[in-house]
């Protein structure tokens, strides 16, 4: 047994269990200590994960688990987003009385472990277990504000949708097993290449129900706005970044490794276009920042799906769909968690998620407002920001693969999205604060978190070179 190959997973497991004990041993006022230990522990697991970026791709544990740069990349995303979300959660719980603060920190660590396994699972059974594990932790996290009705609603809703989606996905897996006679993705590829195309299409759609649920893809997105609105905001941020990234990792592996592209490319291209358009059009009328970001997350799932659809290879990173998707996920992590961090800071000081209450924020909290403006510009895809470069790569990949129409749809959607992202900027910069509004205190933690996420957003937009090399290493070895 190659135990060394799963060093990051072992470390994460030990960390999460240790935190569980620590949570029991600390008093209600000392929960931040748990969170800081979690942050340090997660940062420590970054080291073995990063080392795997240079690992020779191989399958371990009876070919059920992949150790390769691709999964290492997603480990890094899961861990980094976990760290950022923990920082945001500490800010969120400051001054809030709840019995479950420590539980949330512990569950975030457990969730990181689940995301890591999801990204590396090479066997249908293990993949299903990982997805279920992540889902169960997410349900609890979404409903963790037990005195808040909306949070309860979010937890229950998420559970019902998630249970149904998982069941359908499992049903899809049985088709694949029936056609291929094995649950190993890498061994499935050959028999499935000769299988009946209609059957594979059905299986693909069922599998998409489960993974599309995780990445908030239309038409599996209905849970997103309610859960995003009701869940504690740091959890929302984690769902929008961590779950989405791991969902894409699993989707890429299933589709690229096991299934012949002809069966799914057209379906996914259409879903990408629909997801972008639905997300953006519905986001236009949202008045609540979390609901707006929920629909924006649906739209971004559509953009990202372009990277899955754009199969054609390219001699440069500009033109390769997987490179573009990985870059986009990295960029989206910084930008979206940053946007939620501002939402948390505003929510904590103003007690409101309404975009209208952001009026005059540029005068009351200049740093947070400037950071939010940068995140909104990045989400729109304006240059000098990370997601501009991500979109450039995605649209380039679409054109390279002959999906010019998809690039055009993406561009029209970017224009639509400008309207609602600018709505936030308009409130912050063009509308006056209510009379007598005092400046809002920006805590040191918020400033740190915003500084990190702004730096990530800007550096990925201005100096993409090293990160392009990173995603190139990570994507090139996806197929063993």
């Amino acid at each position: 047994m190659d135990v060394q190959a799963i060093t990051p997973e072992l470390m994460l497991g030990v960390l999460a269990l240790g935190l569980l004990v620590l949570d029991l041993a600390t008093g209600p006022a000392e929960k931040r200590f748990v969170a800081w230990i979690a942050v340090i522990g997660l940062l420590a697991t970054l080291v073995p994960s990063a080392l795997q970026l240079g690992a020779t791709p191989r399958l371990v544990f009876f070919d059920t688990y992949a150790v390769e740069p691709f999964s290492a990349f997603f480990k890094i995303i899961a861990i980094l987003s976990g760290v950022l979300v923990l920082l945001a959660a500490m800010e969120f719980f400051k001054g809030r009385t709840t019995q479950h603060e420590g539980d949330v920190y512990v569950l975030i660590a457990f969730m990181v472990l689940g995301l890591v396994i999801m990204a590396a699972a090479a066997d249908l059974i293990l993949l299903f277990l990982a997805v279920e594990y992540v889902s169960l932790v997410s349900y609890v996290l979404a409903g963790s504000l037990k005195s808040d009705r909306k949070s309860n609603e979010a937890g229950v809703k998420y559970f019902f949708y998630g249970a149904a989606a998982s069941a359908v996905m499992l049903y899809g897996f049985t088709y694949l097993y029936g056609a291929g006679g094995t649950t190993n993705l890498y061994h499935l590829a050959r028999p499935l290449a000769a299988a009946n195309a209609g059957l594979l299409l059905v299986a693909t759609v069922f599998v998409l129900a489960g993974l599309g649920f995780k990445i908030s893809l239309v038409p599996f997105h209905q849970w997103t706005p309610d859960v995003y609105e009701g869940a504690p905001t740091p959890v929302t941020a984690f769902l929008s970044v961590g779950s989405k990234a791991a969902g894409f990792a699993a989707l890429l592996r299933v589709l690229y490794v096991a299934l012949p592209p002809e069966t799914w490319v057209t379906v996914l291209a259409v879903l990408a276009a629909i997801s972008m358009s639905v997300g953006n059009l519905v986001a236009l009328s949202q008045q609540n920042i979390k609901r707006m970001l929920a629909y924006s997350s649906i739209a971004h799932a559509g953009y990202m799906l372009i990277g899955v659809v754009a199969l054609a290879g390219s001699s440069t990173p500009l033109g390769s769909g997987v490179d573009a998707l990985l870059y986009y996920l990295l960029a989206y992590m910084f930008t979206n968690i940053g946007a939620f961090a501002v939402a948390i800071a505003v929510e904590r000081t103003l007690g409101s998620d309404a975009i209208a209450d952001y009026a005059g924020l540029s005068q009351r909290a200049p740093f947070a407002a400037a950071a939010m403006a940068i995140f909104m510009l990045s989400l729109t895809g304006i240059p000098f920001t990370a997601l501009f470069f991500g979109k450039l790569l995605l649209f380039g990949a679409a054109i390279q693969s002959g999906f010019l129409w998809l690039a055009v749809v993406g561009i029209l959607n970017s224009v639509i999205s400008l309207a609602y992202y600018m709505g936030v900027i308009r409130a912050m910069y063009q509308q006056a604060a209510p009379d007598g509004a005092a400046p809002l205190a920006e805590s040191g933690l918020t400033r740190t978190l915003l500084a990190i996420t702004v730096a990530g957003t800007v550096v990925l937009g201005i100096y993409p070179g090293p990160f392009l090399r990173l995603v190139q290493t990570a994507s090139a070895l996806l197929r063993l």
């Binding site: 440069t316 990173p317 304006i382 380039g396 054109i399 070179g465």
Partner: protein, 502 residues
């Protein structure tokens, strides 16, 4: 390699960083820092002009090239020739004048000055960039400061105007992004370098794809110019923007579009442009005549000038389309060069003249009368002699009075375009006649006749306003009398661009 162009490009950003450290209530310090930055930037751009070898104005000079994103062939590549150098100097000059003019802006002066400095970098960056990635970054980033300038310091309908401006131009920008990507994937070796792509002409053998890419660039540039029928954002943006915003919008931002046609569309996609030249020319002539007719009907002085911009930019586009229509026909090369000389000259003239006109409207509206209705005035010539002189000079220059800057430009445009598109040029001339009519009519209504007693106590232009206006007035007259050296530089650049067409 000299870093002179980088200095011109990044000095305003350095000024922004200094401004960030100044507390927001120190308005005077903020203004001084902004002024010093823009003066230094103007000096740097003039210095670049002095270092520029005018005898070789056709070739790109003061080149800087640094590897930036090597894996996708992106470099930090800057350079100037006889086309971009005058536009860069015009940009730095006008930004400085805007800072002088905006001395009295009391609403959030810190953000105001920071945005103008960032806008300066964006505009200069577009003129200097020789790499598509860089070009696109500056092209689009220049939208953001203008969005805020209109949206925060604008008039009553500023929110609507700001988002309309941003949406329109973003549609164009993204269309251009598609065109750039199409070019990138057809190039071999893959590059985003504008000069390398012009050398390669990757779409030369694929006319349908070239036309598709051309439409991408066309949409982007035409919205910016703005050409009829993409001009509808312009009156809103101009009317709602604060005075200095209107000045830069009219004087520089519109030029980004025409500059793009000359620098990129013409040499990079000559066949596609030649194919579509008649269509562009027809739109240009419609814009010229329609803009003039609508300007005639305006009672709001700012709107009048905004539509006169549609009219004047129509001439520029007619000239560029005419030059594009020539293509490889050797006999017409002289006419094409003349038309392009006129187009570039008109870009500069319109920048100087319309910049001055918007300043002058602001002088009257912002601090004196608080109205822009053409019919609200009357007889101001007796009360405000200096103001009247300046305004009449600018309006006469704009309508193309000989010995002023606008005349030189329009003369060259019509001279060149007439040999290529005689009928269309004839129709466009109607626009000139209407322009003369509406400007003279406006002069008559505002300055002549009996003094409206409402304005009996209006003060004349003060020292700061004179400082903001004097350089522009001097340029109008100077270039009008003695356009030779400027045309010589422009002509070399245009001949070179036409030689790249083959």
């Amino acid at each position: 390699m000299s870093g002179l162009l980088s200095l011109v490009l990044w000095l305003p950003v350095a000024g922004t960083l200094v401004l960030l450290a100044v507390p927001r209530d120190r308005a005077r310090t903020i203004r001084i820092v902004a002024l010093v930055t823009t003066v230094l930037d103007l000096a740097a751009s003039v210095w670049a002009g002095a270092a520029f070898d005018r005898a070789r104005a056709g070739t790109l000079q003061l080149l800087e090239q640094v590897r930036w994103i090597p894996s996708i062939g992106v470099t930090y590549h800057l350079g100037v020739d006889g086309l971009s150098l005058p536009l860069v100097i015009l940009t730095t000059l006008l930004t400085m004048l805007c800072v002088i003019y905006s001395w009295r802006v009391d609403l959030r002066p810190k953000e105001y000055m920071i945005l103008f400095l960032l806008l300066e970098t964006g505009m200069v960056g577009v003129f200097l960039s020789l790499d598509f990635f860089l070009f696109y970054l500056f092209w689009e980033i220049s939208l953001v400061p203008m969005f805020f300038i209109i949206g925060i310091w604008g008039g009553a309908r500023r929110t609507y105007a700001a988002i309309k401006f941003f949406l329109y131009t973003l549609v164009g920008s993204l269309a251009m992004l598609l065109a750039i990507l199409i070019l990138y994937f057809q190039s071999s070796p893959r590059t985003l370098d504008i000069l390398a792509l012009i050398q390669q002409k990757p779409l030369a053998h694929d006319l349908p794809l070239a036309i598709l890419a051309f439409w991408g660039f066309f949409l982007s540039f035409a919205i910016k110019v703005p050409m009829f029928p993409f001009h509808t954002w312009l009156p809103d943006a101009h009317v709602e923007a604060p005075t200095a915003g209107s000045v830069l919008l009219a004087a520089i931002l519109l030029k980004l579009g025409t500059y793009g046609f000359v620098r990129i569309a013409l040499p990079l996609l000559p066949d596609a442009f030649q194919h579509m030249a008649w269509f562009v020319a027809v739109l240009a002539v419609i814009g010229a005549v329609y803009g003039a007719m609508v300007a005639m009907a305006q009672t709001d002085l700012k709107k009048l000038i905004a539509y006169s911009s549609v009219n004047h930019m129509g001439y520029v586009m007619l000239a560029i389309a005419a030059a594009a229509a020539v293509g490889n026909r050797g006999a017409m090369q002289g006419a094409a060069a003349q038309a392009l000389d006129g187009a570039t000259m008109q870009m500069l003239a319109h920048g100087v003249i319309t910049g001055a006109l918007f300043f002058l409207v602001g002088v009257l509206y912002d601090y004196r009368a608080h109205t822009r209705g053409v019919g609200d005035f009357g007889g101001l010539a007796t009360r405000l002699p200096v103001y009247t002189g300046l305004m009449m000079l600018a309006m006469l220059a704009s309508l193309g009075l000989p010995l002023l800057m606008g005349f030189v430009a329009e003369f060259l445009i019509f001279l060149g375009a007439f040999q290529i598109y005689p009928q269309l040029t004839g129709v466009a001339m109607v626009g000139v006649v209407i322009t003369v009519a509406y400007f003279l009519w406006a002069i008559q209504r505002i300055f002549l006749g009996p003094l409206n007693p409402r304005w009996a106590a209006l003060p004349d232009v003060d020292a700061r306003e004179r400082w903001a206006l004097a350089p522009l007035a001097a340029l109008m007259v100077l270039v009008g009398f003695y356009p030779g050296p400027l045309i010589a530089i422009i002509n070399l650049a245009m001949i070179n661009i036409l030689s790249l067409v083959h």
